[in-house]
């Protein structure tokens, strides 16, 4: 019987986020009362964040396989084959709650965590993105959180040395009490040099590497799974501080160590630190594991076993090494100035044993910690769907020019330059498409020379759509990422998802979750974009108000020849603008309706996945064949905003023709019908393109020509590109500097 100095009271159990029936499950599993340390271990392993207990059932139904998928969900990050013996490794992860409490440090440690997930697999990070959602611009906390989060994302990534090439920033009052910080990272490795967390062999040394352990983020994983209330400031001392310098050293040391052949298994210490990483390594390898905490490098004196097991100090790794290569490994870590300690060994007992000061502090069945975690089929209700909103129920603007200016200068439609200029997006020298376009493109050199490939990256989701119809909104998030990748000439190959929702104990929330996932899954199958990694963040609620359902998608595309990519900028006077796709004038849940009329009404635009596939394949082929000079997908803001963005990017005007259509003009110009793009081409090429499109069953219409220094539409609208850019670029800096 293990000695327990601290009485396990119902209050203590509750404070660990364990429900009475979950505690009963622990008693049944181990046949005795747990020690305090064991209770901590169970609470870390069984909280929502680590166990996925409310979401597992639904995640299992997602499409995760594909011809290119080498490793799907379950490891630190997904791995996708890109040919030539190379693979891209990527994942997206949330750091929502910590960022709300301490925006700068919350964001840094979020970026640090996702980078670690990627290089733990043996990959050198080559790109990062960040999907951010904040409360209303006029909410008193929003500006402070934006400033801190953006500085934090940059502060970590810039110092670490990865280009941050894309992301999203959106404002909505439903994020007033819970901001979202979703960080994405991608890395590159050789397919025969992938490292996994599964321990192998009995009696192998378990080695601790990186920074020392402090009392950082005590119970952080538990916090991430608890709703906020008004005294959430009580939880403040759990803040972790990021050290990008230590992480950069850890990257170099880890890659050097992996190349030396000393590593059997590797796992970074993320949420619930030493506990999660050690249990995972042992359990995956069907082995037991014994830790001796006296050996753990600590930053503060007098740390208890409980604290060491639950600490979330950053920039740490756990490895299982080949015994005869320990010294070589240690030398590498000393060279990089990092801590190195043998803290345990693998056993054949299938027990997870933790010793401290000569006492056994925990002795638990290692596999049950993960396998026997509770799994819930939480009750859910069918989401209430909004009825279709007729264009006639949305007023047309008095002045189209003013409406366009107001829209491109609105909080959600304005330029994010203020954000991405704080991120080093050029480091490594491979950035071919910089932020500001549809998707970022990064060069990938082939191992044996030859023309370089490209990888394209984008982040997408439209939470207003998901709220109004989770199923269509889920589909739309995938469809939009497909379009963004196709528009730059990349073939979408796989995605990662970051599912941000409210409290899963509420049937409406699980209802949203279930339907959004159904939509995401169907779209992934139709567009052949398997989900290879992801993350779930629940309990994003404050005082009973949940965030908008936000299944953020990070998508990756591949180009055989990176030089074929094109951007959104209008390129040459005289080029013809061609609209690809059908326009019905769908104004429900549109940006026009929200930003200019303050209304969130109607069903979101339906997504026709077959049309998405056809149109995307057509546009991508045209880009790769060099038949178009610019390409842009149409999403929020619709056609007029899309063309305005192309004009601003190219600092060139365009003359649009009045459309011959039954669709009311304002719905035609601002509607958000899906599966649409605008491309430009020289006149002869454009005519041929339109004919070819017809043959391929893709609607394509000439809508105007490039030229002048204004955007014009018949006699209805004339706005200078300077005025557009001025409004587009100024909202965010002005808002940030206004106090």
């Amino acid at each position: 019987m293990l000695k327990n100095d601290i009485a396990i009271t119902p209050e203590l159990i509750k404070a660990h986020g364990l429900k009475p029936d979950e505690y009963q499950r622990i008693l049944d599993l181990i046949g005795r009362e747990p020690t305090w340390t064991e209770l901590g271990i169970f609470s870390a392993m069984w909280n929502e964040h680590c166990s996925y207990k409310s979401s597992k059932k639904w995640l299992k139904q997602l499409p995760t396989k594909g011809a290119r998928v080498l490793i799907g969900p379950g490891e630190n990050a997904g791995v996708v084959d890109i040919g030539d013996g190379q693979a891209v490794v990527f994942k997206m992860e949330s750091h929502n709650h910590p960022s709300y409490i301490e925006p700068y440090q919350g964001a840094t440690t979020g970026v640090g965590g996702i980078l670690r997930d990627v290089f733990t697999m043996g990959a050198r990070p080559i790109a990062a993105m960040n999907a951010l959602r904040f409360g209303a611009p006029d909410h008193p906390k929003t500006r402070h959180i934006v400033a801190g989060v953006v500085a934090g994302v940059g502060g970590y990534g810039n110092s670490f040395g990865v280009p941050t090439v894309g992301g999203e920033v959106e404002f909505h009052p439903r994020y007033n009490g819970n901001c979202l910080v979703n960080a994405f990272a991608a890395g590159l490795l050789k397919t025969d040099e992938i490292f996994l967390s599964e321990a192998k062999g009995v009696g192998m040394p378990v080695v601790y590497l990186g920074s020392k352990t402090g009392r950082d983020g005590m119970g952080g994983a538990t916090m991430a799974s608890a709703e906020f209330d008004d005294d959430s400031h009580e939880k403040r001392p759990t803040v972790q501080v990021g050290d990008p310098f230590a992480e950069k050293l850890l990257l170099e040391a880890s890659l050097e160590l992996m190349a030396s052949g000393a590593v059997i298994a590797i796992q970074d210490m993320g949420a619930a630190g030493l506990t999660c990483s050690a249990v995972e390594m042992g359990a995956k390898g069907n082995l037991g594991l014994t830790l001796n905490l006296d050996k753990v490098p600590t930053r503060e004196p007098g740390m208890t076993a409980y604290e060491m097991m639950l600490s979330e100090s950053q920039e740490r790794m756990l490895m299982v090494l080949h015994p005869h290569l320990e010294e070589k490994a240690e030398a590498i870590f000393r060279k990089w100035g990092l801590d190195f300690a043998i803290v345990g060994e693998t056993t054949d007992t299938l027990r997870f044993v933790v010793e401290h000061h000569g006492q056994v502090m925990a002795d638990l069945p290692i596999k049950d910690l993960g396998d026997q975690a509770p799994e819930y089929d939480r009750p859910w209700v069918e989401p209430k769907r909004q009825p279709v909103l007729a264009a006639a129920d949305v007023p047309a603007p008095q002045d189209y020019g003013r409406a366009l200016l107001d829209l491109v200068g609105s909080p959600n439609q304005s330029s994010r330059r203020w954000v991405w200029e704080q991120y080093d997006h050029l480091i490594q020298g491979n950035t071919v498409q910089r932020p500001g376009g549809d998707a970022a493109v990064v060069r990938v050199e082939r191992p044996n020379g030859g023309h370089a490939k490209g990888l394209a990256f984008t982040c997408d989701v439209t939470p207003r759509y998901v709220e109004a119809d989770p199923y269509e909104g889920g589909k739309q998030a995938i469809a939009e990422s497909w379009r963004n990748l196709s528009a730059v000439g990349a073939l979408p190959i796989a995605v990662t998802d970051n599912l941000n929702f409210g409290n899963p104990e509420r049937p409406e929330i699980i209802g949203q979750f279930v339907h959004a996932l159904k939509g995401v899954g169907e779209a992934c199958i139709a567009l052949d974009m398997p989900i290879v990694s992801g993350n779930v963040s629940l309990y994003n609620e404050t005082n009973g108000e949940a965030i908008l359902p936000t299944p953020a998608i990070g998508a990756v595309g591949l180009m055989d020849d990176v030089t074929r990519t094109i951007g959104v900028a209008l390129a040459a006077d005289g080029d013809v603008l061609v609209l690809i796709g059908d326009t019905t004038g769908w104004l429900g849940q549109s940006s026009y309706l929200y930003e200019l009329h303050g209304r969130e009404e109607g069903a979101p635009p339906p997504v026709d996945l077959a049309a998405e596939k056809r149109h995307g394949d057509f546009v991508r082929a045209a880009v790769i064949d060099g038949r178009v000079t610019a390409a842009h997908d149409l999403s929020s803001g619709g056609l007029l905003v899309g063309v305005a963005e192309m004009a601003m990017a190219g600092a060139k005007g365009a003359r649009l023709l009045l459309p011959e259509t039954e669709v009311p003009l304002h719905a035609f110009l601002f509607g958000e019908d899906q599966a649409r793009y605008v491309v430009t081409a020289a006149p002869e090429d454009a005519s041929r393109l339109i004919v070819d499109a017809a043959m391929a069953g893709v609607p394509a219409t000439a809508i105007g020509a490039v030229g002048g220094d204004s955007l014009t539409l018949g006699g209805l609208l004339t706005v200078s590109i300077d005025a557009l850019s001025q409004r587009h670029e100024s909202w965010m800096p002005n808002w940030m500097s206004a106090a």
Binding site: I101, R236, V239
Partner: protein
Amino acid sequence: MKARVTVTLKHGVLDPQGKAIQGALKSLGFAGVDDVRQGKLIELELATADRAEAQAQLTDMCEKLLANTVIENYRIELI
């Protein structure tokens, strides 16, 4: 009136700067240096001549701006 505010990290909060400085001092040959912590110093001039008022104002400034009370402590000195 002149005032000086010092802002330091709370106990237990990781201080990467302090750690780096400690390492650098060691490699420059300074022995026996321990527990290096870096903080901020803010000096300012206040219009008021009333010490109590100054103290109250400075506390307010620290809480609202100068210190990040989530991870930092502050100390106020009037000179």
